[in-house]
Symmetry: C2
Subunit: 337 residues, 2 copies
């Protein structure tokens, strides 16, 4: 983004009736939103969370507490408005759109469901590559196309979310491969597995990395070999949002894996990302450090779906409103220091 | 609050379509709001932030960057809707009511202004007691009466805020007196004073404590000798909210000084408090530890007015909506683990 725009937005904030800098990260948010969109009075009305859904072959190794059938069941729950992300998106005035980029189930067309299925789930990465390179690219292109369409439609800000039983395993594998850290350092309990299952999950992920040997310098190779279709879709949404100068709010651990792939491909996308919250998943912190971003919230969330993004969108809109709506010292007749 | 109600609310949360505990502090908020109000589907519609305004004799010692006239100027800014708290309260769907409990200015009656002036500011506590015990009690009673009136009116949740040039000094004095720590450990830059002014502020507060010798075991004595009228009003609002089983959202450093006085008087009020955010003011952390509460946000705010409370009210309402609106596994036809 243009540094001059950041300075102009801060100058506008500095004339508001408050001590300099006293609204902290709300000011940072307002300033960055301005610079991303190129406006000192940015619009925030239309907000959309894209919840990408995909299945994972790795589930057959017993890495998750929930059965694979829960992925399509939760998609139907999203479409009926009963899931956590629906409740929180309604609260923030955002719309939820569910993207079937790789669920192993044939959905009927439904309002709020975008069917762009690349494959019926990934393959088990403990036994071979999760995807072909063509599949990974196709799933990224789904995300890019959705960002392009959102921009045309007048969407002011997009958020990421995901649903895919088993998808903390590929997320841990991605950060381990890219950062070169141990699997144990970045692998946690997902939906809530016990100690024994956690040990098994670590072994399975390690086996997948040993077998596939993803190239750390080639984020597309990492994504292809140990990633997921919904993670690829999120990477594409981040890339597309940045290309369209549209702020993108990245949810938790799995979404950040997608944002990490995007930022390894094009470091400049970092300027367009707001990270929503610190996940309970231990690998999240390492991803955030690698991207170089600091989340807005720390509420011990570990649900995914876009729930953290929905909450953060509310805070981001608040920061923009500070920039737009607060009176200046002159307007209010208040003495400045 | 009733422990059985906390357990009932958590049982309701545990049936929702999510892994157990995966909404972290949102679940905590929903559970506590339930227990406070005695309902498993609590109302959150009507939210009011009471911004208490008062002046401070200590300002004549040069402890603040802004002149004393800014207190009434900012009150008028609140009434016109142009201040930070107005912007953020509108965003969260809350109403701002300004309470003149001690401003050194005669306001005309105006919508949104509640005139309950106890005195035209405190006296300089570096030269004697800030208030009489009768004044401190009267200001507390203003807050209690406002909580009673809010309850009768059907307010679901109240927030605290304040305006008073110089009011970080009495707040630092209060926590130093109660916790027995040094003035330096709990004194910071307020609206943004430099190094030299900070040294002077520390000396002035120390002089006030040495002269007045407030009794740490008697919170009303501490409030009387080194406190403020708006801080007393906030203490009263917290006491009154708890007595009425109404959740109270406590803003930053100065508001927490008020909540600290209330919780030292009646430890049970802690169960009714939500703390909004971690202030940049260094004494805030010690107050929070003393009360035994953990704020919801950490956004580097240091404006006061109720700005943090306004943002936190949005998160609290989100937590309550999770409890009320999310589908259960059975309703959604989703397999549980």
């Amino acid at each position: 983004v243009d540094e001059a725009l950041l300075a102009k937005a801060q100058a506008k904030l500095d004339n508001k009736t408050k001590p300099l800098g006293s609204l902290g990260r709300l000011e940072e948010v307002g300033r960055r939103f301005s610079a991303i969109t190129g406006s000192l009075a940015p619009d925030t009305a239309k907000k959309v969370i894209f919840t990408f859904a995909g299945d994972h072959g790795i589930v057959e190794e017993g890495v998750s507490l929930f059965p694979k059938e829960v992925t399509p069941q939760m998609v139907l729950n999203f479409l009926r408005g009963g899931a956590g992300v629906n409740v929180l998106a309604r609260h923030s005035g955002a719309e939820v759109r569910v993207v079937d980029v790789g669920v192993d189930y044939d959905f009927e067309p439904a309002p709020g469901l975008i069917i762009r299925k690349v494959a019926k789930g990934t393959r088990n990465f403990a036994k071979g590559s999760a995807m072909t390179r063509e599949e990974a690219v196709a799933a990224i292109e789904v995300g890019i196309a959705l960002a392009d369409e959102a921009k045309k439609e007048g969407v002011a800000m997009v958020g990421t979310g995901e649903m895919g039983i088993g998808n903390t395993s590929p997320s841990s594998a991605i950060i381990a491969a890219i950062a070169g850290c141990t699997v144990r350092e970045v692998t946690h309990r997902g939906t809530g597995i016990g100690d024994e299952a956690l040990e098994k999950k670590i072994k399975v992920i390690q086996a997948g990395l040993d077998l596939n040997r993803p190239e750390p310098q080639d984020p597309l190779d990492v994504l292809t070999k140990v990633g997921g279709l919904e993670i690829a879709g999120i990477a594409g949404l981040v890339l597309g949002a940045a290309a369209n100068r549209m702020p993108v709010v990245v949810d938790g651990f799995i979404s950040t894996a997608g944002a990490l792939i995007a930022s390894e491909m094009h470091p400049a996308v970092r300027d367009y990302i707001f990270t929503a919250h610190n996940s309970v998943e231990i690998g999240h912190q390492m991803m955030l450090e690698r991207i170089g971003v600091k989340p807005l919230l720390d509420l011990q969330l570990r649900l995914g779906e876009g729930t953290g993004a929905a909450l953060a969108m509310g805070l981001i809109e608040a920061g923009v409103k500070i920039l737009k709506e607060m009176a200046t010292f002159e307007e209010a007749g208040v003495a400045s220091s």
